[in-house]
Subunit: 339 residues, 2 copies
């Protein structure tokens, strides 16, 4: 078995990675990976959780090239994604021929989040719900032998620095107890790749740049961008505001120039005046940062004309929002996400 893709990574493997990095190229990698995955997986069936992000998407396409329909993808709609995002990405996955099951679980997530305001508690609920939904769907599949994960090299490095080497590698996609319960082995097609290498592999595989150029997005999605209690109404408001911001970034050619951008709903009563009457509505914060590795991040000096247009569009068209602010906090000590 090729230890670049299978089994527990060791420190020796990391050193090998460093040696190989200079000569690395995506053409060779794709060819070698497909061959190694074919060999290692044989006629086995594999399950993989798609998140819409780059890592899980490239992992899926690579595995699909190797084993075709024996790769079963599960794509959970948490109800906490961007506006229309689940449907658009699902269509793209299907367009690339993936064998993908979409699970609509928004009602479960939003139901379990009702009344919860503590950020840590919210994250735990979202993580637990994801595992439950994914596990339940995976267990419907017959004769699955492998769980594929979109782990990339920085995840491995992080695990090595946080834990004893080679002992406890972070379970990247929160799959919980599934490997033990279903007696699954783990395959990680990208675990020796840096993010830029993942993108180059994706491009080599013919994936659309809209999918490859996607900004990082938090695992718990808009669940941690609605501060405090999450409600269906707040998620809908935030989706509208976020869409205006994101669409404007794309329209102005700014989307690909920044690391990450999004809107945050602040659960405050902000005063406004509409048609002579006082209103008490939410404020929306816009966050847009540049970063090399997400460990540090600078807020982007977006053009003031651009910010003015986006702010006015949000305030004038999104019901329930009467104020917009721009986050001007560096990481550290502020984090990229507010929760």
């Amino acid at each position: 078995m090729d230890n670049r893709f299978f089994g527990t990574p060791t420190r020796e493997l990391l050193e090998q990675k460093e040696r190989e990095r200079s000569g690395w190229n995506p053409v060779t990698y794709v060819a070698e990976a497909i061959e190694a995955l074919k060999q290692g997986l044989g006629d086995d069936k594999v399950v993989l959780g798609l998140s819409g992000g780059v890592d899980s998407s490239v992992s899926a396409i690579l595995l699909h090239k190797a084993i075709g329909a024996r790769l079963h993808c599960i794509f959970v709609d948490t109800g906490l994604m961007r506006k229309n995002e689940h449907d658009e990405v699902l269509a793209a996955y299907k367009g690339m021929g993936l064998n993908v099951t979409s699970v609509r679980a928004g009602a479960k997530f939003l139901g379990d989040l009702a009344g919860v305001v503590d950020p840590e508690q919210k994250r735990k609920i979202i993580g637990r719900d994801f595992i439950e939904v994914f596990d339940a769907e995976a267990q419907k599949l017959k004769d699955i032998k492998w769980l594929a994960q979109g782990t990339i090299y920085p995840d491995i490095l992080e695990s090595f620095s946080a834990h004893k080497p080679g002992v406890s590698v972070k379970s990247h996609h929160n799959v919980g107890g599934l490997p033990e319960k279903m007696n699954l082995k783990i395959v990680e097609p990208l675990r020796l790749l840096f993010k830029d290498e993942v993108r180059r592999v994706g491009r080599e595989l013919g994936m659309a740049s809209e999918l490859l150029g996607r900004h990082p997005f938090p695992g718990p999605g808009l669940g941690v961008r609605v501060l405090g209690e999450v409600t269906p109404e707040k998620i809908a408001i935030l989706q509208e505001a976020d869409k205006i911001f994101t669409d404007a970034l794309r329209a102005e050619g700014l989307y690909d120039k920044v690391w990450q951008a999004g809107a945050i709903l602040l659960p405050v009563q902000s005063t406004g005046v509409t048609k002579g009457a006082r209103t008490f509505e939410y404020a929306v914060a816009l966050r847009c940062v540049n970063s090399v590795d997400a460990m540090t991040a600078d807020w982007v000096r977006l053009p003031y004309d651009f910010l003015e247009t986006v702010s006015n569009d949000i305030i004038n068209t999104v019901q329930g929002v009467n104020r917009v602010v721009y986050d001007i906090s560096m990481k550290p000590p502020a984090t990229i996400e507010w929760e």
Copy 2:
């Protein structure tokens, strides 16, 4: 009695104002006002509530020139002013020779605000407390005949448009039932002046530009800039952040170029990372607007270098704050203040 200063204003008076405006000058005005106030007030005693703002300060100096120590000023420390503001302004008042009593009532205001989150309710409590404190102090004074108010011409116009002409003029300084209770007559030395004319009168009276150039500040003070529940801890945090912002505006020569600026404390749990540990702290919003009449207002495109410095200073030095945002909302529909 000169109806420019005494009695109920009528529509005829407003028309007279319009006719006179072209030939108006502060030298003549000051001379005529002092003479008219001397004549109208005779040996009577007058009470006036100082707020630290331009209108009440200029009113006081004008009356002081006319009747000297028979003007009794009351300056209430609500505990909701900017850092050190009460003491600094009090020293300036005393330096100008005013007969002023400072009432330290912060404990009362903060006590009554404990547990209250509704903005309207907060405003009512602050207004009621102000009246109670002012009235109690005024009633200690002997033989007071007049209540002086810092009403200016736009206040009069507003009352005329909002109510039946000449019937109900807005009680500008929230003096409540004091005039009836103490059988006081009203004197309004600035009620036919626009804001710029008030400043010119103040300059003619030799007042310091720090006092005349002060930004507008909401009546309820920081009580409506701490969103939600007001606590002594939150007021102290906001005072520190506000001071950094205001001092920086002055240092960079920006203070006098903008209409109004201040900081707002957002009662959200924002995530940060300090020395490797997660923190959950407040976010501070900076608001800086330009306006001609406060009816509409544009947010100011402050230099990004300036915003970066202020943001970093606040986050790095104010305990309890780990995030700063800049308000990019136009009025209308957003108001200048958040509550």
